[in-house]
Amino acid sequence: MIEFKQVSYNHPGGTNALDNINLKIKKNSITAIVGNNGAGKTTLVKHINGLLKPSEGEVTIENNSTKKSSVAELSRNVGMVFQNANHQLFADTVKNEILFGLKNFGFDQDYIDERYELMTDLFNLRKYEEISPLKLSGGEKKKVCLASVLAWNPEILILDEPTVGQDELQKNILFEFINTLHSNNKTIIIISHDIEFLWRLQPNIITMSDGRIIEINHPEKIFTDKELMNKVGLIPPQIIKIFNGLGIEKDIPINLEDACKRIQGLMEE
């Protein structure tokens, strides 16, 4: 369990980025954080792996305060994949990029080899292992970043805007991948503006604005609340728009196939 207890954070310039956050994120859950730019989403997640320490209040992971641990100690259990892959990639080969975290955490060679093999197979990166990660396409770079973080098998995975710059095929792979991780008892936290992707994924949704949590609820409740969506600067998924247009506010289908069947049924009625 990740817990934020009355957490506030002020940037060094004095700006109040988080204001009295109280939040619990359950183990083995998928949580998405949405909100307009500057709402404090990234600031919030940076508290989980200790990149930022609260100005007031406390963040705990399994009842251990993040204040007592270094970023490296916390990162052993909290993997974070940043939005911009170019901010992370530096090694001469994809292989060395994936091994970077494993070596930093000081795992023994057998474990490093085992995890490396698993990651290259899982992300289909075998053909690129001796190539510079900087020469890869945007989608492939994201894969390398993800592989390099998952390599040390963190219990909590934070993904900052994972679908940005990804085509539909890559998004589908990511969707399957997140579900696989979830079924392997990982806790996943996603920051995203991609509402269509989140609707498919059906995570718990945290909405943020001006450094505060506005509401925590399931996607249907959040995405059908027009006032809330306006406040956080988001547009509801297409399926919700269609069904709202048909006068349906509840039990909206998640995928397109179900939506088609439902509409067909309505037409027959």
Binding site: A72, V78, F90, A91, L134
Partner: protein
């Protein structure tokens, strides 16, 4: 790093100093800089610091200039120690150290109250080559962006277990490779993209492009220029 950089980055404000013509701001900065180089006693150095304080108060930049001072104090302490152990008197060593702080502050003062646009007008007023001015001003404008990139990269690498604070000096230097490589590559890519964006918006087509704004000295500028110049000349001729 954020703390130090804030001592040199411009922020919009409505203060009297911000509103001055950029040429006047440059003149004040040059005068303070020159005095800091020339003065030879603590009394005159005190006058320079009083002048810097007045300008920073009027410009509402005291807090940020203080950061510059703190940054410069580290180096000036080193200067003091080296001078003292080299055989100079303590008073002389302190004087040299304070001179360094005054030089850094007078430079910082100009950049804290002058926007990159104003800097461009000043440099063009000096009839410097347009490409050179553009390159210089762009690099100044991109300082905060590069700083943000650096912080993001440090965060990304720390999240993968990189501990910059551990190890002997050689190991610590080596640990900066995962930060410097993405930073340099990002900035090279960015500069390429910027060049393409500039060219696609017609940069370089006209040899003498017109400007939307022109520099104009007003009464306020002339008064400030007169007061500072008189003070400067007085200190030069009678002060030391």
């Amino acid at each position: 790093m954020y703390f130090i950089a804030n001592g040199f980055i411009y922020r919009k404000s409505n203060s009297i100093i911000h509103k001055l013509d950029p040429r006047v701001k440059l003149l004040i900065s040059i005068q303070l800089f020159t005095l800091a180089l020339l003065v030879s006693n603590l009394y005159n150095l005190a006058i320079i610091f009083i002048a810097i304080s007045i300008f920073s108060l009027l410009g509402k930049i005291t807090k940020r200039l203080l950061r510059t001072m703190i940054f410069a104090t580290g180096f000036s302490a080193l200067i003091l120690i080296i001078n003292y152990f080299a055989g100079y008197s303590l008073v002389y060593s302190i004087q040299i150290a304070l001179r360094f702080i005054a030089i850094v502050c007078s430079t910082s003062l100009f950049f804290l109250v002058t926007s990159p646009d104003e800097l461009e007008y000043v440099l063009r007023w000096f009839r410097l080559p347009r490409d050179l001015v553009f390159a210089f001003v762009t690099s100044v404008r991109f300082v905060p962006v590069i700083l943000m990139d650096t912080l993001q990269i440090i965060d990304a690498q720390k999240s993968r277990g990189l501990e910059l604070e551990k190890g002997n000096p050689i190991i610590r230097i080596k640990k900066f490779i995962p930060i410097l490589v993405p930073l340099i590559i990002n900035e090279v890519i960015r500069s390429g993209e910027l060049a393409e964006a500039m060219e696609s918006r017609g940069y370089g087509i006209s040899k003498n492009p017109t400007s939307l704004y022109s520099l104009q000295l007003i009464k306020q500028d002339l008064i400030v220029m007169f007061i500072t110049s008189i003070s400067f000349i007085s200190i030069i001729f009678f002060g030391y």
